[in-house]
């Protein structure tokens, strides 16, 4: 229970709510306080000025006309007082009232001259009054003042209202904090639960989204994208492990067998060197496979994106066609490459060349002797397609997803050279560039398209 309470207090959302409530109270107090001191202070000064003016006038009159005149003057002023707020009292030296609108000398006002704030009895009720006390010649005591009970009451009411408003603010803040806390906690708990499940090994978990498109949804979306990327990388690692197990061990076993055989039988030098040469060639192929795997891992990691530049895909296609055309013709395959357009994409020119090269290389390998391979470039909406067509056996629909998988080689290709990473690399390069690899039937043969997003016209330099 204690720990539950402690965690409740530690909750960031609750602290935030309380802090907001406190800030709210502080700000409103400051505002009301400033208003209060300016308006109330102004009224106080006005009152003091009025009282002082009247008292001085009466004091002057007493000096001019003496006691009888002063009594008349006080009576007249009481009669003329319009708002019944003015207070006058003239008393003898023993403080017995001579004339005025107070029944008795207020107890709180002593004998000393000066300003007073005291409770006076008026019309049978105690009321607050602001008073000034003069001692006139002949020890006559003059008290002039104003009833300020109304202002005191207003002040009291405002103070009470402030206290209530403050309490309400704290209450609203706390309730809002609790609601906020519940809402936020629910979303955060969902993210935490997903992360926990992933740590336990279930990489397919995703953070649920509320569909409201708020910041939490945006965060969930980003986290989900990150998780998808992690899952792909982990899959990649898993694939590479499988690939190493199957496709690197097998040739290693062959090479090892070849060398061990050589040790055991010790053939004549010529035959031995021929075997060693074969072994070196085997190892070179292994290094090739190894390099291809490393290259794939590098592409999958996305670090190559940092080196993206503006690339004219037309140039890349022409250059690749130029590299592969003679090899195709040497195999008796007609090669037609046409790319007399300029299309700008953001990318890594070397990787794009390698990917397109792999597509052409594949097509040339599978095209029958006397067949034809075409390499073309076509705009397709916001995208651009590099299409490589051959008239070979094609790929059955069921196998199309598999050929992109690492190390997969269809039955038809068992005898063809290569390590079975060509199309995986094309798919990885396409993904790196935000595009895709499409495999379609060319009736007959295969039409492989590397589809890439075009660089938008807006951000290409004029």
């Amino acid at each position: 229970m204690a720990s539950a309470g402690a965690s409740f207090l530690r909750s960031a959302s609750l602290r935030l709510a309380l802090a907001f409530a406190a800030l709210f109270v502080f700000c409103s107090s400051l505002l009301v306080g400033a208003l209060w001191w300016t308006t109330s202070g102004y009224l106080d000064r006005e009152t003091n000025a009025v009282i002082a003016a009247e008292a001085n006038a009466l004091a002057d009159q007493s000096r001019a006309v003496g006691l009888p005149g002063l009594v008349d003057a006080v009576r007249r002023r009481i009669a003329e007082s319009r708002d019944d707020k003015a207070i006058y009292l003239l008393a003898d030296p023993a403080l017995r009232p001579l004339v005025g609108n107070l029944a008795a000398w207020p107890l709180q006002v002593g004998r000393a001259e000066g300003w007073w704030e005291a409770d006076v009895e008026r019309n049978g009720a105690l009321r607050r009054a602001r008073l000034v006390h003069f001692v006139l010649p002949g020890s006559l005591q003059l008290l002039v003042g104003r009833d300020i009970q109304d202002r005191v009451e207003v002040r009291q009411a405002i103070l009470e209202a402030l206290v209530w408003a403050g309490a309400l603010a704290v209450l609203i803040g706390a309730v809002a904090g609790l609601v906020f806390r519940r809402l936020v906690l629910a979303r955060i708990a969902a993210i935490g639960a997903t992360a926990g499940a992933i740590m336990r090994g279930d990489l397919r978990q995703r953070v649920p989204t509320a569909g409201s498109g708020d910041e939490f949804d945006a965060l969930a979306g980003t986290i989900n994208d990150m998780l998808a990327q992690i899952e792909r990388l982990i899959d990649g690692v898993r694939n590479v492990s499988n690939a190493i197990a199957h496709d690197l061990r097998t040739p290693l076993a062959e090479t090892r067998g070849r060398l061990e055989d050589l040790l055991r039988h010790r053939p004549a030098p010529d035959a031995a060197f021929a075997e060693v040469e074969e072994a070196v060639a085997d190892i070179d192929r292994l290094i090739g496979t190894f390099n291809a795997l490393l290259r794939l891992a590098e592409i999958d990691s996305g670090v190559r994106r940092a080196g993206f530049v503006r690339v004219d895909l037309g140039d890349v296609v022409r250059s690749v066609g130029d590299l592969y055309a003679p090899a195709a013709e040497a195999r008796g395959v007609r090669f037609a490459g046409a790319a007399n357009v300029s299309v700008a994409v953001d990318g890594d020119p070397s990787l794009l060349a390698q990917a397109i090269g792999n597509l052409v290389d594949n097509a040339v390998k599978y095209a029958p002797s006397g067949g034809q391979v075409t390499l073309g470039l076509a705009l397709d909406g916001d995208a651009v397609r590099v299409v490589v067509r051959d008239d070979g056996p094609g790929i059955p629909d069921a196998d199309k997803p598999k050929v992109v998988a690492r190390f997969y080689r269809g039955d038809a290709s068992r005898s063809a050279p290569g390590v079975g990473l060509g199309l995986s690399l094309v798919a990885a390069v396409a993904a790196l560039h935000g595009g895709r690899l499409e495999l379609a039937d060319a009736h007959p043969g295969l039409a492989a398209s590397l589809v890439l997003p075009r660089r938008s016209v807006a951000d290409s330099p004029a």
Partner: protein, 226 residues
């Protein structure tokens, strides 16, 4: 040539040193970065072969940067097990002239080393190249063999230019791919061989004596004699 090898792996060092000495070069060896930097800065070498990762605090890139900062322009070939494009660029930016990924064939290393040393010597811009009676005019972009004009595609011209600039040297397929096509990947099939045989059909057509030779297990060489 006098060559310095800075390599900590004893087996690789022995293999490279043996190959260099058999090829008629004088080869010194340093096993740590500190020794290597000391030898490289205190003696004159025609080329330095340098492992990227060395023990003892001074790594390969530090050595290249230190030499370049001291104004030493000796050609440097960087050897590395790191094959990432980034690593390659970092090596070249530090001042390396070429970058070779381990494991490598000795033939590849020797050919690239020759090309490096040659590049360091040939400073003046040439306007014409000649190998035997094969001539290339770089300004008019014309090629003749024994006076007869030869029609070449632009890429074939570039290929022949590279071979002529490195005449008498072994040029590997990878070097051609990197320098003529600017590609740094394995094209899977023997595409370069086919380009070479097309070029050979044009420049070595009978009755001319063949100039463009295939060097087994290494690459090609354009050579007037023999």
């Amino acid at each position: 040539m006098k060559i310095l090898l800075i390599e900590d792996n004893a087996r690789v060092a022995q293999f490279v040193l043996k190959g260099l000495r058999e090829g008629g070069h004088v080869a010194d060896h340093a096993a740590t970065g500190r020794d290597g930097l000391f030898m490289a800065s205190s003696e004159r070498y025609d080329a330095i072969i340098l492992d990227r990762m060395l023990p003892g605090g001074v790594d390969g890139l530090t050595i290249v940067s230190a030499l370049r900062a001291a104004g030493d322009r000796t050609p440097v070939m960087i050897l590395s097990a790191l094959s990432d494009v980034d690593e390659r660029i970092r090596g070249l930016k530090a001042g390396g002239d070429d970058y070779l990924t381990k494991p490598f064939a000795f033939g590849e290393l020797a050919a690239r080393l020759d090309a490096l040393a040659r590049r360091a010597q040939a400073v003046s811009a040439q306007t014409a190249l000649a190998v035997g009676d094969l001539r290339m005019d770089l300004l008019k972009r014309e090629v003749t063999r024994a006076g007869a004009a030869i029609e070449l595609q632009p890429r074939e011209f570039k290929l022949l230019e590279y071979l002529m600039r490195h005449s008498g040297q072994v040029v590997t397929r990878t070097m051609l791919l990197e320098n003529v096509w600017d590609y740094h990947f394995d094209p899977q099939t023997n595409v370069i061989d086919v380009h070479i045989s097309n070029l050979r059909r044009k420049i070595d057509a009978p009755p001319n004596k063949p100039l463009l030779k295939t060097i087994r297990n290494a690459g090609y060489m354009l050579n007037a004699d023999g």
